[in-house]
Symmetry: D2
Subunit: 143 residues, 4 copies
Amino acid sequence: MTDAAIRSRVENSFARQGMMQHLGARLLRVEPGLCEIALPYSCKVTQQQDGFHGGAIGALADIAGGYAGLTQAPDGMEVTTVEYKINFLAALRDGELRAIGRVAKAGRRVIVTRAEVLHIGINGKETACALMQQTLMCVPKSY
Amino acid sequence: MTDAAIRSRVENSFARQGMMQHLGARLLRVEPGLCEIALPYSCKVTQQQDGFHGGAIGALADIAGGYAGLTQAPDGMEVTTVEYKINFLAALRDGELRAIGRVAKAGRRVIVTRAEVLHIGINGKETACALMQQTLMCVPKSY
Amino acid sequence: MTDAAIRSRVENSFARQGMMQHLGARLLRVEPGLCEIALPYSCKVTQQQDGFHGGAIGALADIAGGYAGLTQAPDGMEVTTVEYKINFLAALRDGELRAIGRVAKAGRRVIVTRAEVLHIGINGKETACALMQQTLMCVPKSY
Amino acid sequence: MTDAAIRSRVENSFARQGMMQHLGARLLRVEPGLCEIALPYSCKVTQQQDGFHGGAIGALADIAGGYAGLTQAPDGMEVTTVEYKINFLAALRDGELRAIGRVAKAGRRVIVTRAEVLHIGINGKETACALMQQTLMCVPKSY
């Protein structure tokens, strides 16, 4: 697949994700083996102390890793998340999150990825927010 | 703490979570060492194939485990999620999800929990949806 | 497969594991969806404080989960560990460890298991030692 | 602490690990925030197909991450593994394994590390074998 085809494959899937549209996430970067997604701070993504909710951080990391994997899945296939594990490094508010997913190993059936989530403060300051490690499986595309 | 105090502690924190309010999650059950939370299906929680988004499932499991832990944290303390790991067992749509978090071990500093996420179809059929294992840390309450 | 065939399948594989033979592990129980393995304390399994080494605990949990999965894998197939995650609950010495693996969900390609590791002191006291959650994949048997 | 003090701190702890001595593991490299450990192939570390046992791979990754963390723990403290998660990328035999642990974030109470395990074949060929992500906690030194 060409880079343009890979990018459009990810864009089409991303546009269909009700949850990501709803939370205001944006696809920033798609390259072979890499995907970066941004999530702005809003009242839709907070926990009880007004920081970004771990659920929002996890969702962002999950799909950054998943779409990094999709860039390397065979044509006509999709990827599904088998499992992931995420460590939270800091609680942060305001600004936005950026999750960068990278393929660590793309096998025929299983793809392993890692993602890092950064927080970009309203003053531009970058802080490490979370680290994820994920297992994807290739499945036939069903839509 | 009395059971009523424990329940009100969890209710107060839950009501402050913008993300859970926004997605329409409901607190179903709070007991010492246990918490159950429901999340109805809506376009706010879907992925690209119209099933529940892994991010929504992960968020629900995370807070069910976290609040199970909060029921056993010392007075004046909160819990924060250090990390969790989640396996997705089935992709499901419609109806609602129920996440049941249970404390596996409550230490002085670290609390380990597990959660299972069930899907309840509109016909009442129950399906196992996800399994989580989580590490919490007790921290001073800051709000 | 009959229960006897399942048990012999696990026994045959277990006997081939140099590491388990070497550390003195014993197969205690094999039932459909369950496997229990014991590991006695010795200088072969200690860490720097003379407790059971996390690596020994992890190895035991990994294979208890793996053999629980093998009891439900199709005939002619083996299982391979895709990944696992383990929480350590207590550091313990003397006596022996017992790891009990249980299948949580057996799919066609992926099997999810959980294991708990208990410590049995020389006085018979039981203590929870570790909790694991694991992903297995079915692969053709190659020996 | 000086680099020499950090190295000797790790060497002293490593020498006390009965399991690592028994399996023939060697400490290759200790730097601030990094530790590399080698494990040669032998009948003490095999699984049923004569490849390196997942338990041996996990043990190696666990201590490479743990000692990377120890290089950054306050004086008089030790680290203990709270949990880890490991993905296996390939089954390999002969030659040796090398696990390189790196600190991702060193907090006051919690240290997060990642490790990669490489296989070095007898012909010198390097193959990615496993990826780990780990949570450590600082505890007072007790020996």
